[in-house]
């Protein structure tokens, strides 16, 4: 089975496309899913280093997906993405070093890539 480095859960195909293209520049294998439930399944299955989650998803919202990931003892780093200017509740996520924060759309691809390079400790190609 191919190693999956990043799982992206976002119901917008355009955004998924952006992550696929950008992560490809770092030679990271990435899987994009549009639904929280399927996304969670893939995270459990592949145990990636980074999970990127859109906060506003359909049936299960991004925070709920993150909570389930933690419940399954997966210590992947988590990055939330949002189109609203949403803040994450410090009391719930503040103590978790693996929560990287919230990426607001539209975002800067280069900055994103720098962050990813740091996480995976590999240079941009």
């Amino acid at each position: 089975m191919k190693q999956i480095d990043v799982v992206v859960i976002d119901d917008n195909e355009g955004i998924c496309w952006v992550f696929r293209q950008a992560l490809a520049l770092c030679k990271l294998n990435c899987l994009t899913l549009s639904d929280g439930t399927q996304g969670l399944e893939q995270v459990i299955r592949h145990r990636p280093g980074l999970v990127i989650i859109d906060i506003k998803l359909g049936a299960m919202n991004g925070f709920e997906v993150a909570r389930r990931i933690r419940q399954n003892n997966i210590d992947a780093k988590i990055l939330f993405v949002t189109g609203y200017s949403e803040a994450i509740a410090a009391e719930e996520w503040g103590g978790d070093k693996n929560i990287l924060g919230v990426l607001e759309k539209p975002f800067n691809v280069e900055e994103f890539l720098e962050m990813v390079a740091e996480i995976f400790d590999r240079p941009l190609c």
Binding site: D11, N12, E13, G14, I15, W17, V18, Q21, A22, A24, L25, S34, D35, K56, L57, G58, A59, T82, G83, Y84, K105, P106, F107, N108, V109, E110, C125
Partner: protein, 672 residues
């Protein structure tokens, strides 16, 4: 139900006149019924004296009140021991009757048309009104707070007229005439306590204190009125000095609480000194009310008996006059304690009474309407004025109405009831308005609604921002990636993506605008929904097969009337609804589409047996950008609703989790 606890100054149990007690109880009960309140009376020791509760047991009141009153009149008749045939009097309800003696000694009470007598204060009621209507007292005849000298003079001369007549009977003793005079006095009293009338004027035509001395050859009398500190005295007859002197004594001793027998002895002695003959007198005193009748040279037992009856009547009248004044104060306090405004009008719409709450509202609005003036002066708005006149004129009721009235920037919202004051013959005596000022409540509600609208607008704006940010983010990323110019990305693919995302942004904004003004350019025309639906089915059949959906279509064979709309827009709406249903049944299912007419509308109903929609989501379904579907825009149903509304149509969604969802649209039939 409101409960009023009330501590009366005067204990109703102490009233010696049972008619009056009964009438007062009836009044309380009707008050309780009209206002839908319970009135609980306590005596000064905290004991419950009476408890009146709605709902109005009208039938019960009628029976008990009337029965007791009739028993009393029969008791009076039985005391007479003489043939009273032909005597004209009034019954407990205040209506004229004559007596017919029966063989066994009993009497039959026969109603007869009223003939105006010396007292002429009681109006003529139709005979059928005897069934005793429970109605509020005649507020219009309430005495003014202070008697003017003119009013006192008028009443004195009125009473003098009555006693001049009485004197004639004594000068030429004639028992039937005397009894008839007594009967008239009785009528005066009964009219006060009779069921149909609270004739306060009749009470005040009575003396507040009476001293009468009747001699064998002549008659002298004095009347003393005392009301709220004003005293007026009238003396007439053959012995003016004697009577004046006695009147002074009477006044002086009357100040003492209980002059008792000493007073009677004094009067007898004085009269005997002057007239040189024995005086036999009857004194009645109770709670400040006094009557003395002195008979000089008694001329027979029957005369004394008649005098006894006369003194009884006068005494009852005196008691009533003070008790009635107390009761008036009492029910004014009851009205005053009620939070709602109460205005009573007569049958011409003139204000008879206003409680404190009503006066307060008028005062707050800078109006000071006077009693007896038209209710229009209260400026409660045309709806209430019309209702009051309607109720007072034709006896109709208005319940739980609301009206808003804005006069020169002072808005007034009232919640009100108007009841007629009906008598048994169906005639309206006037009307009662009970109202509550809800202006502040209404304004607060409006404010809350405004905030709710703003909150929804805020949510929609946030959703719109989110929707636009997705393609914007993609487009921006595409540009950044293009700048990086790194393999393996192809320049052409990036530009294509950029173009696509900008188109998507535009499409979101266009759709959003469509919600506020859909079908701007489309003309409405008659559309046959049967045809529209059949065209749609060509497309839906394919979708159903692909998604393993069992498509059931129920179209009636007959032609249904055309609706007014745009065929393309309706098709768009139907397609949206049907695809939603198919999408909801991801594991297959059944979609039933029915077309039918109900009244003046044609309906299309889409029923699926999918998972259903949770109740908390149902209301938000037609709100823009509300979606639970991954990648859904949340605009489909919002646009559909807006399109239907622009054609005068409706969209109704019912759903039960685990059973399925039914979406029904309806459009009005095009006018022929």
């Amino acid at each position: 139900m409101t409960t009023l606890y009330y501590f009366p100054d005067q204990n109703i149990k102490d009233c010696p006149n049972k008619h009056f007690t009964r009438r007062w109880t009836v009044f309380q009960k009707s008050l309780a019924s009209i206002l839908k309140v319970a009135i609980v009376w306590f005596d000064p020791h905290g004991e419950v004296v009476s408890l009146q509760e709605p709902p109005d047991p009208a039938g019960h009141l009628r029976q008990t009140g009337a029965a007791e009153a009739y028993r009393e009149i029969f008791r009076r008749i039985s005391r007479e021991h003489r043939d009273l045939s032909g005597i004209k009097t009034v019954d407990p309800l205040g209506f004229p009757i004559s007596l017919i003696r029966l063989d066994d000694g009993g009497y039959l009470l026969m109603g007869e048309p009223f003939r105006s007598g010396a007292l002429g204060a009681v109006p003529v009621p139709p005979a059928k009104m005897r069934a005793a209507e429970v109605s509020a007292p005649e507020y219009g005849r309430l005495p003014q707070p202070v008697l003017t000298p003119e009013v006192i003079e008028e009443r004195l001369s009125h009473t003098a007229g009555l006693f001049n007549k009485l004197r004639r009977y004594f000068v030429r003793p004639n028992l039937p005439e005397l009894l008839s005079a007594v009967g008239r006095l009785e009528q005066l009293i009964i009219s006060v306590c009779g069921q149909g009338y609270f004739n306060s004027r009749a009470v005040f035509e009575l003396i507040t204190s009476c001293l009468m001395l009747i001699a064998g050859s002549g008659c002298a009398f004095t009347f003393i009125y005392e009301y709220q500190g004003q005293i007026a005295t009238l003396c007439c007859g053959e012995q003016p000095e004697l009577v004046q002197g006695l009147a002074d004594e009477w006044n002086r001793l009357g100040q003492e609480r209980d002059p008792g027998k000493r007073f009677a002895d004094l009067i007898s002695r004085r009269a005997e000194d002057k007239l040189k003959t024995a005086v036999e007198g009857i004194l009645y005193q109770n709670n400040g009310a006094s009557v003395y009748l002195g008979l000089v040279g008694a001329e027979g037992a029957h005369l004394r008996e008649a005098l006894g009856a006369l003194v009884d009547c006068a005494a009852a009248a005196l008691e009533l006059s003070s008790f009635w004044a107390g009761c008036q104060e009492s029910w004014k306090k009851v009205f005053g304690a009620i939070r709602q405004g109460i205005i009573v009008v007569d049958n011409r719409g003139a204000i008879l009474i206003m409680n404190s709450a009503a006066k307060k509202l008028c005062k707050e609005r800078g109006i000071a309407p006077a009693l007896g003036r038209p209710v229009k002066g209260c400026r409660l708005g045309p709806q209430i004025e019309e209702a009051l006149l309607g109720a007072a004129g034709s006896g109709c009721s208005f319940r739980s109405k609301r009206s808003s009235f804005d006069e020169s920037g002072a808005p007034l919202c009232l919640c009100w009831d108007v009841f007629p004051l009906l008598r048994d013959d169906g005639q309206s005596n006037g009307a009662v308005l009970v109202y509550e000022d809800i202006t502040v409540t209404v304004q607060l509600k409006e404010e809350i609604r405004k905030w709710e609208r703003l909150a929804t607008a805020g949510e929609i704006a946030a959703s719109l921002a989110h929707e636009v940010r997705n393609p914007l983010a993609t487009a921006k990323a595409a540009i950044q990636l293009l700048r990086m110019d790194k393999a393996p990305l192809k320049r052409e693919e990036l530009l294509e993506k950029l173009d696509l995302e900008l188109d998507r942004t535009n499409s979101i904004l266009t759709n959003f605008l469509n919600i506020s003004k859909p079908m701007q350019d489309e003309k409405l025309e008659p559309v046959l929904l049967k045809e529209t639906l059949q065209e749609l089915l060509f497309f839906l059949n394919g979708e159903a097969v692909l998604n393993e959906i069992d498509l059931v279509v129920r179209i009636p064979p007959e032609e249904l009337p055309a609706v007014l709309g745009s065929a393309n827009s309706i098709k768009q709406v139907c397609l949206n609804i049907a695809l939603n249903a198919i999408e909801a049944m991801s594991g297959g299912g059944r979609l039933t589409i029915s077309l039918f007419q109900r009244k003046k509308r044609v309906h299309i109903r889409f029923e699926d047996n999918g998972p259903g929609i949770p109740a908390e989501n149902l209301e938000a379904l037609t709100r823009p950008f509300f979606t639970t579907k991954p990648g859904g825009t949340g605009l489909g149903l919002a646009i559909s609703t807006a399109i239907l509304k622009s054609m005068g149509g409706n969209l109704n969604i019912e759903s039960n989790v685990g059973e399925g969802t039914a979406v029904e649209l309806s459009l009005p039939i095009a006018d022929q």
